[in-house]
């Protein structure tokens, strides 16, 4: 009698066929989300090549994808950790610690001597990409590193850089930044391995020390030489720190094992478990049922399983369109305004990817809106915006306010009257149109912001910073994949009568989930609808960490580019209403320009004080002379990322210069720093830090903080007693 172990994982199918514990046949293949089809191919080969015989032999299945397949092939389902543990106990009685890294999950197993035999502690993580195989492969794909080359890339001896270990999407952008600033890809990959091992040790050890002998299993551990080296490095260090001596019976090179069969341990465990089962359990009936499922069953399943579409019925659609389907973005009166000599207010929003400006008349009416993609040089962005304002015929600027990332850099250079933080700008814009707003939800291309308003101020603010889940970039990516223009997204999504249920949470897994659902036969429209449907959950719960929407308020303002998509608005409205039945939900009429509008309104506030604008004038901005310097002295040294910054030095009569700088600047010049990836990089170096700190200390001395008193003197011997 043969026993087959079949491991249906998130990315591959693995199988082993054994007779009396001796392996007869084994193989693994990537299934490219066609799990059932790949299993069928495997079974057919196992019959033809491995001698697996229906009615006689037995089959056991394990892995994340085996739950629905096991009944179809008559096999017994074994939880994957149980399977791996069974194989390890049989094959490696000396092993104390096992790390198995899969495509989309990771597990650790600790074995310790207990009362009878060994006790196990098992930890598993499968909700987030941090620390899994996908985490490495996703970035490698982006860097166009072939799998074969990736497998050979090293860890030992490489300079390491800081890469987010928590999220695959952020790791990818960290890796991008590193590569852009000239870090060799070899070092980037080594840093990824570092992140994987760190994440596994940090989240999956829970008070246990991985002691020798250690077994590394799963595809990534087997194939990536560098990952093995990273484990070697960290474990050896840990053992030295914790004074853990290796058992004398083990030669040093066998303390960390990566068996050739590393991929097949779950299969081997199935076989081991199968051999202890009563006869009749898991007898393999053949492929009939599986074939039926592939050809017919899965489609029936799909119809049964899916959630209701975004639109319940015609009435629902009509009501929604009546409330929200009207022109959400009335175009401001473009072009020269009738009284163009009249003084106007200008609000600019300098973001990281775009720069926007609006022109407003003194009464708060929007006259014009301008948008330019940012080219990374804030001076050029400013020039482009003001050139465009002038071209539209506005001549006199009575008040100018800036917001966004570039507000502090540009304030003095273009002569802005106020620099407003983003939250205040957004809140001002929302309260201008909806004075009773309680919550603003801004979903942009790559960030999610939630602002909770109280007493006309922003009392709470949530920004997704550690996890990329919830942003609108996906919708755009998927629409592009289906060649649907973003403006027609909703039209398509509303066609869906049923939709697949996508998992909330990790954006990396969402991507593969989409492929998976597509495989199950869900159409583009249906997938687009389900993506919109899952977005509110990701925005409010996963990214915003806001469980109790009702406590936040009842009037919700949706803004940001992603809310131009009516499918998203529909999902948001349904989601919010479900939590807050009497909620009033509105989409900001200028959802993309809200920041700039808020800035302009703040300029209007400022104007009331009666001062004259500091605006330098269109001519001056157009002819701003500047030099850019990028060299070893401009490289940021605050952290190991070492951003290659650019110093943009602008000639300004009152410029104070920077005599102390490594790139000295004469008086009559002002410096703007760009190319940094975090706020710290806006400080040039230690010298500037000293200047800033000294000023800060003065302020702190004049305005004491009781906590400072506690920090400085509460943990010391009181002075009098010394």
């Amino acid at each position: 009698m043969l026993i087959a172990g079949l491991d249906v994982g998130s990315t591959t199918v693995k199988a082993t066929v054994a007779r009396d514990g001796a392996v007869q046949w084994q193989d693994y293949q990537r299934h490219h989300t066609k799990q059932a089809e790949m299993v069928l191919a495997f079974l057919q080969r196992m019959q033809a090549e491995g001698g697996l015989t229906p009615g006689r032999d037995r089959i056991l299945l394990t892995g994340s994808g085996s739950g629905f397949i096991a009944p179809l092939v008559g096999g017994k389902f074994v939880q994957e950790v149980v399977a791996v543990a069974a194989a390890v106990e049989k094959l490696h009685p000396q092993v104390n610690f096992v790390s198995e890294i899969g495509g989309e999950d990771m597990k650790t197993l600790f074995f310790a001597p207990g009362g009878d035999g060994k006790s196990k502690q098992v930890y598993m993580q499968s909700a987030c990409s941090g620390g899994t195989g996908t985490f490495v492969e996703k970035t490698a794909r982006k860097l166009q590193i072939q799998t074969e080359r990736l497998a050979q890339m090293r860890y030992a001896g490489m300079t390491l850089h800081k890469i987010s270990s928590k999220c695959g999407i952020f790791a990818e952008s960290d890796a991008n930044t590193l590569v852009k600033s000239g870090v060799p890809v070899e070092e980037v990959i080594a840093s990824l391995y570092e992140a994987v091992v760190y994440q596994n040790l940090a989240t999956l050890t829970k008070g246990n020390t991985p002691k020798p002998q250690v077994l590394l299993l799963g595809g990534p551990n087997l194939f990536f030489k560098g990952l093995q080296e990273a484990w070697q490095h960290h474990l050896t260090k840990l053992w030295a720190e914790r004074r853990i001596a290796a058992p004398a019976s083990l030669p040093p090179e066998s303390l960390i094992l990566v068996p050739d069969e590393a991929l097949y341990y779950a299969c081997l465990g199935c076989i081991e478990i199968g051999s202890g089962e009563a006869p009749g359990v898991g007898v393999y009936p053949g492929t009939e049922k599986l074939k039926w499922w592939i050809e017919q069953g899965q489609w029936e399943q799909k119809a049964k399983e899916g959630a209701k579409g975004l639109i319940r019925n015609e009435t629902d659609l009509c009501e929604f369109v009546k409330a929200y389907g009207t022109d959400q973005c009335p175009a401001p009166r473009q072009g020269p305004n009738p009284a163009r000599e009249a003084p106007v207010l200008v609000g600019c929003d300098f973001g990281s990817t775009t720069a926007k400006a609006v022109v407003m008349c003194g009464e708060g009416e929007l006259l014009s809106s301008i948008y330019v993609p940012s080219n990374g040089n804030p001076i050029e962005d400013a020039k482009a915006l003001f050139r465009s304002i002038r071209e539209r015929g506005y001549q006199r600027i009575a008040g100018l306010a800036l917001t966004g990332y570039g507000k502090d850099l540009l304030r003095d250079i273009i002569g802005a009257d106020v620099a407003i933080v983003e939250t205040v700008a957004h809140a001002t814009a929302a309260l201008h149109y909806y004075p009773d707003a309680d919550v603003i939800c801004d979903v942009g291309g790559c960030d999610v912001k939630i602002m909770i308003l109280r007493q006309g101020t922003v009392s709470d603010f949530r920004l997704n910073s550690q996890c990329s889940s919830g942003n609108g970039a996906f919708l755009q990516g998927v629409a592009e994949r289906y060649s649907v223009p973003l403006e027609q997204y909703a039209e398509h999504a509303f066609q869906a009568r049923a939709i697949p249920s996508l998992a909330m949470g990790c954006g990396v897994f969402l991507q593969s989930d989409i492929v998976n659902q597509q495989r199950k036969g869900w159409s583009a429209d249906e997938i687009m609808a389900s993506l919109a449907a899952v977005l509110p959950l990701n925005v409010w719960v996963y990214a915003g960490q806001l469980q109790n929407l009702a406590a936040a308020g009842r009037k919700f303002v949706l803004q940001g580019g992603t809310h131009r998509n009516l499918a998203v608005v529909k999902a948001q409205v349904d989601f919010i209403r479900e939590k807050v039945p009497d909620a009033e939900i509105v989409v900001h009429p200028y959802s993309g320009e809200a920041g700039a509008i808020g800035a302009a309104l703040c300029a209007a506030d400022w104007l009331k004080q009666g001062a004259a604008s500091r605006f330098r004038g269109f001519e001056t901005i157009e002819s701003l002379a500047y030099t850019s310097t990028t060299n070893e002295h401009t490289t940021c040294k605050w952290c190991p990322v070492n951003c290659k910054r650019t110093f943009i030095d602008v000639r300004l009569a009152e410029g104070r210069g920077r005599a102390w700088s490594k790139v000295p600047l004469a008086t009559g010049w002002e410096r703007v720093i760009s190319g940094n990836s975090c706020p710290k990089g806006l400080l040039e170096d230690v010298n500037e830090m000293k200047v800033v700190k000294a000023k800060l200390e003065e302020v702190k001395d004049a305005h004491p903080n009781i906590a400072e008193l506690v920090r400085e003197s509460a943990f010391r011997q009181p002075k009098a007693a010394v």
């Binding site: 074994v78 207990g114 933080v421 943990f715």
Partner: protein, 408 residues
Amino acid sequence: MKAPSGSLRLRFSPGRGKAPETIAPEPPATAKPRGELRVGIPRVLNLWSTHQFWIGFLNALGIDGRHIEFSSDTSEEQAREFGKGRGTVDCCYPVKCISGHFGELIANRKRKIDLLFSPMVYSLPSYLNGHVAASLTCPRVMAAPENIKAGFLKEKDVFAEHGIRYAAPLVSLADAPLVPKQLYEGLKDAIAGLTLGETKQATRAGFDALEVFNRAARAKSRAILEQCAREGRPALLVVARPYHMDPGIGHEIETDLQAYGYPVLWAQYLPTDGDLLEWMFRPDIEAGHIRSGLDIADVWPSSYSANTNEILWGAKFAARMPWIACVVRLSSYECGMDQPTYSPVQQIVERSGTLFFSFQDLDSTKPAGSVKIRVETIAHYLQKYAAEIIAKKVAAGPEGCPLAARRE
């Protein structure tokens, strides 16, 4: 070895009955002479409000102040270097981070400690004692040392390995007469020749030292408020748990606000002088809402938790104090003690027209980007509304504020 059963249910063994891996070295047979004894104390949790008690107590027992080692402020580096893999299954970061503190104290080679002292504080010496139902600590916080200790004993006795004695007496600091016995029992093996009599004396010395510090801090807060009253300037009040003063727990959010030129008060160290209480709370006492200025029964009848009580009283203080124009609430991720207080604190503060901002779900990493934006946001509104708020609150309050009266 038994063949695996193949059952789907996994048996999670909590590691009972495990044989120790190495034979633990004997703990020191007799404790060192007190003059040489070095005591390590993790700078965590309620140490942030009982600090001077312990210094005064140990001093009185003849332990040199230079021999009391506090661990450094919490930081991710500390956790990474010293706490790695010893974490506990606990969502409370102020508890979780303690393994880093233990590890750091144990690893200190330069000033090697003999005793790791991590008291399990059951109740606290709060200024509200006598006016509230009780001054207990969070049960999770109280039990934290035991919880963390497990990570250092699980595989082998790390304390013994380093020749360190571990002492974690349960201590009811709100109940002064109980304290000497508790500390005597907890420390008699660790401190050579300790007697109950001297522990009594030392306990008294501890309370005195704490009182001296607290009084000075309250006086400082009062001086700040007096200056604000004199100059018509706003101050901020932080309502949080004492350990949010730890830069690794509270992430120095209030310091970022201080840099905008606002003095910062903390609810734990507000002035409690009679004249001030009389001025602020007289109307409430007369109306029968409360029995004393330090009574919080009007807003928080289940006043059992010391830190929670002080947070609630801080909110009441802020609502009545004109120069506190803004309250900043700090709270750690999944804090079960804080959650029921969110709305009451916010409503008490907001009803008085005082600005209220909360930073919830603080965890190990400082969310630098969003904190920067939020701090700028608060600074903006303060600059815009502070003068208005102060004027409104002055007008709404009773005549004859003792802070302003001292002007003459």
